[in-house]
């Protein structure tokens, strides 16, 4: 593996929730994600994707999600945006970008929804404080999958 290649992260952070003391109720679905999810190297970086079809519509604690990567210095929130790409299924069962649908963000500051752009993207820049604030994304049932992408050479704009 070359030094510039970011390893695929399959292991999720265990139930320890750190100083914020979040409840096991969120950790359990995350642990389940570790088993039901898959990961693939998309060439230019690492793509972590989880199947969220049907009733398995999870809250994704973003801090938990990138924590290992953050600790390893592989994701630097102060510099890199968090790239979320959402897909859904059309009437024929084909995977399409979930443009126009909303992702819900909820944390101790409140709740708001952000619309997914036509490329299926929500691009979020955070400082360290926000990154560690357990900002949680809630996927609506109409969004079947949300990948967190970590491009190897991220530059503006993310498209």
């Amino acid at each position: 593996m070359s030094a510039s290649t970011r390893p695929i992260e399959c292991e999720r952070r265990p139930a320890g929730r750190g100083a914020r003391g979040r409840m096991l109720g969120v950790a359990a679905p995350l642990a389940l994600l570790a088993f039901t999810g898959g990961a693939q190297d998309s060439g230019g970086g690492t793509r972590i994707e989880f199947d969220l079809h049907g009733e398995f519509v999870f809250d994704v604690d973003l801090t938990e999600d990138f924590y290992h990567r953050y600790r390893a210095g592989l994701f630097v929130p102060e510099s890199e945006p968090l790239v979320m790409r959402a897909t859904t299924l059309d009437d024929d069962g084909d995977v399409i970008m979930a443009g126009g649908k909303y992702l819900r963000f909820t944390w101790d500051q409140g709740t708001f929804d952000v619309r997914i752009d036509r490329n299926g993207l929500v691009v979020l820049h955070m400082d360290d404080q926000a990154a560690m604030s357990h900002l949680t994304t809630v996927l609506p049932p109409t969004v079947s999958s949300m990948a967190r992408e970590f491009p190897e050479y991220p530059n503006h704009p993310i498209q």
Binding site: V57, D59, V76, E78, S79, E80, P81, Y102, W107, D108, Q109, G110, T111, F112, D113, V114, R115, D117, R118, N119, L121, V122, V123, L124, H125, M126, D127, D128, Q129, A130, A131, S133, L135, V138, P140, Y153, P154, N155, H156, P157, I158, Q159
Partner: protein
């Protein structure tokens, strides 16, 4: 000649409703300049759509010259919660919505840009992002019925 007058009248009558819609649309649009409180934005939306529904906000980011700014950043400073900034689309449009009473925040909204091609690995946000001088957020509000919040 009568036929000609009739045609002109018909055209005028058909155009009037369109002109009316255009004026109404312009009135519906609000412009926010510089850093402004998120509460002010939401309050303006609630005033327009009513207090019992969610507020959907379409925000188009424009520069001082009035031109759309592609891939602008809509930054939200949350005080104790830190900073989040969302990238708009290629048309400078960013959509956000708030369920009723979802936020009681003193967050501040500001508009920023990032030079195209900026390498995110080399620099940090404070150095590569810049305030959009003279920038305007052209905002339109609409209502929506929020889905039940999942527990």
């Amino acid at each position: 000649m009568k036929l000609c007058r009739g045609a002109i009248l018909a055209v005028a009558l058909s155009v009037l409703p369109l002109a009316g819609c255009g004026v109404a649309g312009a009135q519906d649009q609000r412009e926010f300049r510089g850093p402004f409180p998120l509460a002010e934005l939401i309050a303006a939306g609630v005033e327009q759509v009513g207090p019992d529904t969610g507020v959907e906000i379409r925000m188009e980011v424009r520069g001082a010259d009035g031109a759309v700014v592609p891939y602008a950043l809509v930054q939200l400073d949350w005080g104790d919660g830190g900073r989040t900034a969302f990238q708009s689309d290629v048309e400078g449009v960013f959509w956000i919505r708030f369920p009723p009473f979802a936020l009681d925040s003193e967050a501040v909204v500001s508009l920023r840009t990032i030079p195209h091609g900026t390498d995110f690995v080399v620099e940090d946000y404070a150095s590569f992002s810049r305030p959009l001088e003279g920038g305007v957020a052209a905002v339109r509000f609409s209502s929506y019925v929020p889905a039940a919040t999942r527990g």
